[in-house]
Amino acid sequence: MSKLVIENVTRTFPGVHGGAPTEALVPTSLTVADNDFITILGPSGCGKSTLLRIIAGLDVPTSGRVLLDGVPVTGPSVDRGMVFQSYTLFPWLTIRENVCFGLRERGMPPAQQQEIARHWLDKVGLTGFERHYPKMLSGGMQQRTAIARALANDPKILLLDEPFGALDNQTRSLMQELLLSIWESDRKTVLFVTHDIEEAIFMASRVVVMSARPGRFKADVAVTIPHPRHYTVKTTPEFSALKAQLTEQIRVEAIKVEAMPAQP
């Protein structure tokens, strides 16, 4: 069953200082099945974050529409959880209070909030850090909290916008394994934006490649490596073949981006 439908979505940003408008997305369509893990792979500045923000309801498409379970998206809501690239934990709240933010907002009794927070903090390995403030935690721990905070709300789909982009390589690999293991146990529908090819293949069941600006989908590659996936799958021939194929696709786009004038 299709969970999320993106129908001919476009986004044009008005020109600044009388300049020409920027086309970030040309008609883009995508169908995401229930319980799927899809990564959107593209060079920087290709409009992949814009697309994710439109799905989250934080940006409005110039034309086209997004449907979740058949209902058009009109703005941000609890049914689409989001994890951002920047650290967006509320610095004045403890780790537990951050995870409870959405639950408290909808008026859930405190005892129930605590129960859910305990469950998710345990899942992301942060038991014992409930009373810490975000500043006291490393970047990886903050992003794990952000994932727990989004999942505590039990969204229909989880959107992630390069959440591990600011982390070092080792932490990034561990985070990928953590997110994948959560998905393997919960099968929450996930849409994950990244420019990292290995990351895109390792977690996804489908990798969608985006072209350089203006963004559109140029390839849709199924990843059939069976679950549960161990980090060692990154060295298998199957993985390498996919990586080679996607590297070629992305390279062409990256060269195009390089030749473009800087975005205003």
Binding site: P76, T88, P91, K135, M136, A150
Partner: protein
């Protein structure tokens, strides 16, 4: 010395006190050494003796209390109206568009120039003193609070929206807590300005307060009392500043470290 290298706590305090010592020594040399006439500048000991006389014979404690009361009264009044208005302006752009141009203009109106008018309107009682301070700090508070609230990190607001926050939830649970430490810091700074305005208000048309004592002493050419009055203001300012800092650190532990 290397740029930006921090000093130890003990050294920091010692250096801070050292300058006070240098200041008093220079003052002593200038006055006891006979380089400056007693008519123009009293020496430190005379200043202390005059201070003692002020408290013991002239009931200076009451003047100090009156001045502190006026500062706090005007300041609290301005903050009680200015902070909510600033928050509303920072959060809601139409409200900002409505008030901002006028407040920006009013900010440059010199509070001290209002004193003749305020005496005309409110007499020379307490209301007039409070109004001088109010005019002096209110518009500043409004503008600074509006800027602080308006510059709340957008990604935090967006994160809150994706977690299901409503518009009022954004104001209550994101804008307010995010801006609170900076608002408190702004109030600490503005309290310092309130002290400047209260003395100006008391120099004209007052029958009590530190500023009034200073004008009286001027008539008698008693520079010891004037300097003592100024130092008392400095000490109260320092104490209130420390109290504010201490309170802010207790209230917003998350904003440190």
């Amino acid at each position: 010395m290397k740029p930006l290298v921090p000093v130890s706590r003990v050294r920091k305090i010692a250096l801070g006190i050292a300058f006070f010592v240098v200041f008093v020594v220079a003052w002593s040399i200038a006055t006891f050494g006979g380089f400056v006439s007693k008519t123009f500048l009293a020496d430190p000991l005379t200043m202390l003796a005059e201070g003692w006389t002020l408290f013991a014979q002239y009931g200076f404690a009451k003047d100090v209390a009156v001045t502190v009361w006026r500062v706090l009264g005007g300041f609290v009044l301005a903050a009680a109206i200015g902070v909510p208005l600033g928050i509303a302006m920072g959060a809601y752009k139409p409200i900002e568009a409505f008030f901002e141009p006028f407040v920006s203009f009013a900010r440059y109106l010199p509070a001290s120039a209002f004193i003749p008018l305020l005496i005309l309107w409110a007499g020379i009682g307490e209301t007039q003193k409070l109004l001088v301070i109010f005019i002096g700090v209110f518009f500043q508070i409004v503008l600074m609070v509006a800027v602080i609230v308006g510059s709340t990190r957008r990604d935090l607001v967006e994160a809150a929206y994706t977690l299901g926050a409503t518009a009022s939830g954004i104001v209550r649970r994101v804008l307010l807590p995010s801006a609170a430490p900076q608002i408190a810091e702004t109030l600490r700074m503005v309290l310092g300005w309130a002290w400047t305005y209260v003395i100006v208000a008391e120099l004209i048309g007052a029958s009590s307060g530190i500023g009034h004592m200073i004008t009286d002493s001027q008539a008698l050419l008693n520079t010891g009392q004037i300097i003592f009055g100024i130092i008392v203001i400095g000490v109260i300012g320092l104490v209130s500043d420390f109290a504010f800092k201490w309170g802010n650190q207790r209230l917003f532990p998350w904003s440190l470290a």
